[in-house]
Symmetry: C2
Subunit: 313 residues, 2 copies
DNA sequence: GATAGTTACGGTAGTCGTAACTATC
DNA sequence: GATAGTTACGACTACCGTAACTATC
């Protein structure tokens, strides 16, 4: 058994059991891949892949187990290389962050600025996507960390660490009557056309839940994945907006009024997600601590090694 | 990088940084090991081992990280072989259980009997030791599962699953006056010489705690690791015994009387411990379920993959 | 007939073992 | 001087690539 064989198995299954394609992506010959897989199967004593004659068409049950373990091994080998990078080039490297618009636009700028000041030689990459996509990016190795609020509880291979809590506010054009409402109620909000987040995003489910709990049917006329888009349409008078509190900036959003709505919706928790058995560069820990000061390196390591997905914060 | 190199690193560190010894244990030549380690170090870009001139004397900080990952990889490779065994020889194999005397003698017999009936081709091995030793055996790969009650919370690499709860009883010679005490109190117990478990064992700390909580100083005249030894001395009139409730058998222990003491001590939880990222043979899951029916395969797998050490039971 | 995988075979690289050498204790 | 590790070198193995062959769709 050797690492190459595991790599081959992984790549073949990743390419839909097409050996030729896998070989190409590995910059090697098809017969080589074929043979090595045969050898591994011989050594283990069973077939990893299902075959119709010569063609590979699927994976066997034991093969599935092999694949799972192989993936972990390959990830670990990658981790070893990372260790190398870390100790030869402590302060240079790449940090790839996958996150949602709201985080990228309102929560991260300060953190990123400070991070770049401290680690000028680290190339920072910001990827955007839905909470789901963001998690997939980490799972696929495309990103190192995910930052999102929703739908990121159900990945076994991700460790999710709570970073901060936040709630929503209602925004409306300056002279809109809702700005006089005190206290602000869900009933009042439900009277107006609403512009808010797309259903896959940024705690949108909390919003639905709140209205549902009161038997209200909010009139959502427009959804977006982007707080700025929402603000734009609110400014145009198309409706009132429900956005993350941190997305309202009294200076930048002079044309809009804001009412805090923390008492109306459940708080949302934004979490950071990392691959369970990843080995992280020093500056990744630094970034996490900048973003969530209550998560120093030791806490994160603990969560990675032992842990449940929520170290009881 | 290849698996052999990782194996070499692991073995060298295991043999106190003695390359020659490591080579011998790997049935290969010393220069080969030396060279491969050099090659790996070269590839990673740093030294894994600390050297005084040519002699290896320790491990560097990055080396420590490499070693940790290497261990995981090697364990996974082993897991792969296990998968092979499992699917080619589903019902034959070896199951090595490390446990304490009390479990082996009073909790396991029925389970073992049933297990052997169902898996006649599995060679069962029972190892005994203190809770600590038992855990070490699993960590070193000597045993597959650990079963114990105490001191097994603080191993990061072990997943501990609660199996059953139990408490203690007081035993004494048939005519001993304490047998008339009702209700039985700690104060009453403290009046007599006590024979009970050694301090490293079987929930002994719960006993200490109970007396301490009442400001009592129990007169422990003799400790043992073995319920049968305790019963023997109690039978000889050397004192009263505090043993696990399940260790008293009215038939076998005719000469002794028993008073339940569940109301005096905190209950103890016996747990089963397995290596966090182990791949387990099917019959290991079967054994666990026989021992703790509330832990079917799926629960155990869940705990192994994701989980905290205590899946909230 | 086109696409996909296996068998066959030769070249090459890398690993292993022995032997000679060098350094540490 | 004894023990431990490195360098040097030769043998062998096993992996890779090309080419020819075979099977599936």
């Amino acid at each position: 058994m050797n690492l190459q064989q595991l790599r081959y198995v992984f790549e073949v299954s990743r390419h839909g059991y097409n050996v030729s394609e896998a070989a190409e992506s590995l910059f090697t010959s098809q017969p080589g891949v074929s043979k090595q897989i045969r050898l591994l199967e011989e050594e283990l004593g069973f077939e990893i892949f299902e075959r119709h004659g010569k063609r590979l068409v699927g994976i066997t049950e034991p093969g599935r187990q092999v694949l799972a373990i192989a993936e972990r091994v390959l990830r670990d080998v990658d981790n070893l290389r990372q260790v190398g990078e870390e100790f030869t080039n402590e302060s240079r490297g790449r940090l790839s962050i996958a996150t949602t618009h709201t985080q990228a636009r309102y929560a991260l700028p300060k953190v990123v600025q400070e991070f770049l000041r401290r680690y000028p030689a680290v190339r920072l990459e910001l990827h955007q996507g839905s909470p789901r996509q963001v998690c997939e990016m980490v799972l696929s190795g495309e990103a190192d960390v995910a930052i999102a609020t929703e739908a990121i509880a159900d990945y076994d291979d991700l460790v999710m660490l709570p970073c901060y809590q936040w709630n929503r506010c209602v925004i409306a054009p300056q002279k809109h009557p809702i700005l006089q409402a005190k206290p602000l109620t869900l009933e009042e909000i439900a009277r107006w056309p609403i512009i808010t987040y797309d259903s896959a995003f940024t705690g949108r489910s909390q919003i639905n839940k709140a209205f549902l709990g009161r038997g209200l049917k909010p009139n959502v006329v427009l959804t977006a994945i982007d707080s700025d888009v929402i603000k734009t349409y609110v400014g145009m008078g198309l409706g009132i907006g429900i956005v993350a509190r941190m997305a309202y900036d009294p200076l930048a959003d002079k044309g809009l009024g804001m009412l805090d709505a923390a008492h109306l919706f459940e708080t949302s928790t934004t979490r950071i997600g990392i691959l369970r058995n990843a080995w992280l560069r020093g500056y990744v820990y630094a970034f996490i601590e900048l973003f969530a000061p209550h998560l120093p390196r030791r806490m994160v390591e603990l969560a990675l090694a032992g842990g449940g997905s929520d170290p009881g914060l």
